[in-house]
């Protein structure tokens, strides 16, 4: 029996304008600037039923830890206006099974993989980076520092410059030269530029921003927290203005530091906002739950939007909103 792959959002299926969509993300050459986001695409396999994951800039895999992890009890998710809260608790198979099954699948599929790692101590992050060191098919390492630091009363690494830098420095040291290390920043800080500067000083080759915002919802029927984990990460279009602001501020302060921008991207124009603010590539996260082929659609929409604005190369649009020259 033949298997149909039916594309649905065919509006605008007309020829796309010629725009060079390739990008360089901290030294990683990507054919497309649109990627998946960690925790929203598993390891690509499920979404490959709905789009060609090898055509994406990369698949950013769900944060992997050293050991298998069950995650938190349910309910783990609550829908909120133009967004959602999640409290999954980093459920995953552990690095060994990930390398054997998930990364191997991505490699065989010809997809680029940016591997997100998560740990509770600097040592765990180091071990994870070491496990990835001699493995084929790792395009970059993304460091999920929005994890509780078990050695510091569960304080999240990303929320202070010193612990964030310590993790990033350790991962950079343990990672093969030539493989970019991206630090994923939390918006739940007073000054994201300060954190960005410190992790770059610690060796981060690029920044992924932003992670979810801490939020909470209460079920008014049960009159208890909606999530079993009480608080959760807010994502989706509701957080997009916060994310664009973060990308803007960091790009302004650190114009040479590559940024992988994310936070509520649902359309090509949403992606364009991040690019204009300074992102060299974008990740599509929560929108995938609504539309499992969203990254492929957004890549087409972004290409069209760039062409419509006279860009012949994607890279010319990066940070374009910061330009100071007067309009012609």
């Amino acid at each position: 029996m033949t298997r149909m792959r039916i594309t649905t959002r065919t509006a605008g299926e007309a020829e796309l304008p010629a725009v060079d969509m390739s990008t360089d993300l901290a030294g990683a050459a990507l054919p497309s600037p649109v990627l998946t986001a960690s925790g929203c695409a598993a390891a690509g396999r499920e979404l490959d039923q709905f789009m060609d994951v090898a055509a994406l800039g990369a698949v950013v895999t769900k944060s992997i830890m050293l050991k298998p992890r069950s995650g938190r009890p349910t309910p783990r998710m609550a829908e909120t206006p133009s967004g959602m809260l999640n409290s999954i608790g980093l459920q995953g198979p552990g690095i060994d099974a990930f390398l054997e099954h998930d990364l191997a699948w991505l490699r065989n599929r010809g997809a680029r993989a940016i591997v997100s790692i998560a740990g509770g101590t600097v040592e765990e992050f180091t071990k994870l980076a070491q496990r990835l060191r001699n493995v084929d098919g790792v395009t970059a390492v993304e460091v999920n520092i929005s994890c509780p630091n078990v050695e510091d009363r569960g304080q999240v690494f990303a929320c202070a410059a010193a612990p964030a830098s310590a993790v990033v420095a350790a991962v950079r040291r343990a990672t093969a030269p030539g493989i970019p290390v991206l630090a994923k920043l939390s918006p739940d800080v007073t000054d994201i530029v300060e954190i960005a500067q410190s992790v770059v000083a610690a060796g981060a080759d690029g920044l992924s921003m932003i992670n979810t915002l801490l939020g909470m919802a209460i079920d008014t029927d049960t009159m208890r927290p909606a999530l079993a984990g009480v608080t959760g990460g807010l994502s989706g279009p509701a957080i997009r203005p916060v994310a664009v602001r973060c990308v803007w501020q960091v790009h302004q302060a650190l114009p040479d530091v590559p940024i992988l921008g994310m936070g509520g991207i649902r359309t090509g124009l949403d992606a364009l906002e991040f690019v204009l603010a300074g992102a060299s590539a974008v990740s599509v996260g929560t929108a995938v739950f609504n539309d499992p082929s969203a990254p492929a659609r957004i890549a087409r929409e972004l290409q069209r939007a760039l062409g419509d604005r006279g860009f012949q190369r994607f890279s010319d649009a990066v940070g374009y909103a910061h330009r100071t020259e007067p309009e012609a």
């Binding site: 499920e46 769900k62 050991k67 309910p75 999954i88 459920q91 279009p237 739950f289 539309d291």
Partner: protein, 285 residues
Amino acid sequence: MAPVQVRGEVLSLRRLGDYHALTLVAPGVADTARPGQFVALAVGGDDSSMLLRRAFSIYKVQQRGVYGGTVEVVFAVHGRGTAWLSRLQAHDQVDVVGPLGRPFALPLEPVSAVLVGGGYGSAPLFSLAEQLRARGSRVDFVIGASTESRLFGALEAKRMSTQVAITTEDGSLGERGRVTDVLPSLMRRAGSEVVYACGPMGMLQAVSELATAHGAVSQCAVEESMACGVGVCMTCVLPVVGDDGVTRMVRSCTEGPVFAGDRVRWADVGTVPADTWGAPAGGQA
């Protein structure tokens, strides 16, 4: 079995008691759909503030016909998403992903099977009954709900079965009580070897335990809330014992929604039991 994502078009929306039955023209979904599988519908249109897909088990499919392939689902209005679905009109568009999930396992030999549906949970059981009968199996039905208007498919069940038992908690139709009140005697009369069930978690737990007590195997389709339906969000998990005897938090969208009843740790749904693979307390982590 590969699912497709298609822009579906509303063919009809009708009221059935307290429920709504929505038929969508959705080419490619019907071709491979099997009983017990589901579709995930986007709600509220392209700019919707409701991002999460709503999952519904498939009631009927039609592979061909004047309109091309169609898929029909049954739902009750619970919140804003289902309220939006209930206001759809002919030719409105709905993004459909499906068929998704593992279907009911069919026996290789003819058996005596009893199909148990609670509320609109009975929706996926009728296509299952057709397939069981086509394979020479005996099919009996137990259909239950809180009240008559919340029963789904009682007449259809009568047409398709040897015996049918109907229960309502208020006694407005059939026997007063729950499906589990009448299931044991029906199983004894029918010599049931397999129980298929779909409905609320509490009902599935009770049906699964009764099946085991009567030496029958059970296949239960769970209703867990999902965000994506395709296996990437990890929200619809429940503790299930694997072939190796180890409990894991598994996704009801991809490993389910149909599970062998004796593998689900029903009493622990909503928790992570301490002996779960990777659990923080004890376990293998």
